[in-house]
Symmetry: C2
Subunit: 88 residues, 2 copies
Amino acid sequence: MDETQTSWREQGKPPMLFKRFAFGSYGQTREFLDALAALAEEIGQHPQNINFGTTYVNITLEAQDGKTIGAPEHAFATRIDALASGPG
Amino acid sequence: MDETQTSWREQGKPPMLFKRFAFGSYGQTREFLDALAALAEEIGQHPQNINFGTTYVNITLEAQDGKTIGAPEHAFATRIDALASGPG
């Protein structure tokens, strides 16, 4: 029931990308959040919203131009996916 | 419009404590989130949900016994308040 979604879902007006990540422990959740903060700092781009509890993180990415989800948003999403599947 | 609430609000069934914190910058938001993670680690107690964007953090604390908001929840809330008003 509470599993990581396989892909990002486009939703809303203005359009946003949304994905839920599930983790087996708070430690894993924390590692993901820390890696996400470091990535955001590195690329100077932040999710519009991050919603988390001890074993899940829901992420919403907004359209950079406020209108359409395109290459920049999908590139950001792909880098976030990599954090969740990375070692550690 | 988007300001830190002056106090925690009790809501829901089972009851929860909720408060919104607003910050002037992402740096301040980040500092608060990091301090909150350290506090949670220290006391082994985690908010049920944390919802944040670049300049706000919404926190929901659940009742430890699943039924009533009491001293433990208010103590946790007070320590979280202290993080937001602390130096730095």
